[in-house]
Symmetry: C2
Subunit: 179 residues, 2 copies
């Protein structure tokens, strides 16, 4: 990597610029992390990944930036049925709504689009007199594989026990240097 890694400006970054929000090295790292994630990340995972490009990023700043992005409607918050704990997960707000289907045994998450989402939202706006800001549909169940699998063999399951940090550090090559 070059000495001054300038990091290509993310879409989130330009969205914020447009709205006159001040940009910092820390924010840039966090935005890029969220933007480029191949899956839904929670705050701790965002911190770990962002710290790799900008070592000074702090836990608190991650939470503050998540708050900023939520207020501006640029990201959505997910529970993923809290299969792995009480943390919330984040993703950039997509063009079209989609729902999240989580396997309660293996933790796999599938995204699914449907016409019914927009229709439901329209119904709510009309019949409840609400201006809808954010809509979230989450489903929990058992994926094909896990339906077949005998109860005990479920070694894949993301339990509360093995959740302890390891997964993200392992997946991405170098050790986590932030607790």
């Amino acid at each position: 990597m070059s000495p001054h890694t300038t990091m290509t400006e993310s879409r989130l970054e330009s969205e914020l610029a447009q709205r006159g929000v001040r940009m910092t090295r820390q924010r840039r790292a966090i935005l890029a992390t969220i933007e480029s994630a191949e899956r839904h990340l929670d705050a701790a995972q965002i911190l770990r990944r962002a710290s790799r490009v900008e070592a000074s990023v702090n836990r608190v700043t991650v939470y503050r930036t998540i708050g900023l992005l939520k207020r501006h409607g640029l990201i959505d918050e997910l529970d993923l049925m809290h299969v792995t704990g009480d943390a919330h997960f984040y993703e950039r707000r997509p063009e079209h709504d989609h729902i999240h289907v989580t396997c309660l045994r293996c933790g796999q998450v599938i995204e699914f689009e449907s016409e019914h989402l927009a229709q439901l939202r329209a119904e709510v706006e009309q019949q409840c007199g609400f201006r809808v800001d954010v809509a979230r549909t989450e489903i929990g169940g058992y994926c094909g594989g896990c339906q077949a699998m005998p109860e005990a063999t479920a070694a894949t399951r993301a339990t509360r026990a093995n959740k302890k940090g390891a997964e993200d550090a392992r997946a991405c090559g170098d050790a986590a240097h932030i607790a």
Copy 2:
């Protein structure tokens, strides 16, 4: 009230009985509380209300009973967009699915039924190969009143500050005797 208030057997109670689950005074109080609630309660509120009929009920038992009911699919867990904090809310699983529409300013919650829910669920089962266990749609937005109200006047808003216990104790007559 008579000395030995026998408390009519709730539907949750008989559901559990059918499944051979052991019944205790504490559980009975918690089940009755959830069953008879006129709105969605979080764990702390369930504890406060249940303690009024059965003083020995403990916080931990509330959580354990919530877990029991979730495992048996007898209650659903809601976020209500976490407008008032990080707690989760509970309600008995209804006959027909409904969604929860929460006003992000005043905290009001509206329940709404729609054909699209069942259709969406069917689509997921077919196209994702999942066996769906629980489905949750939550919407956040601004209710009619709050859309009209000028930004500052929002005195009604359930802020993190006023959340502190008062609301439930006040609403139900006698003081909360459990922290």
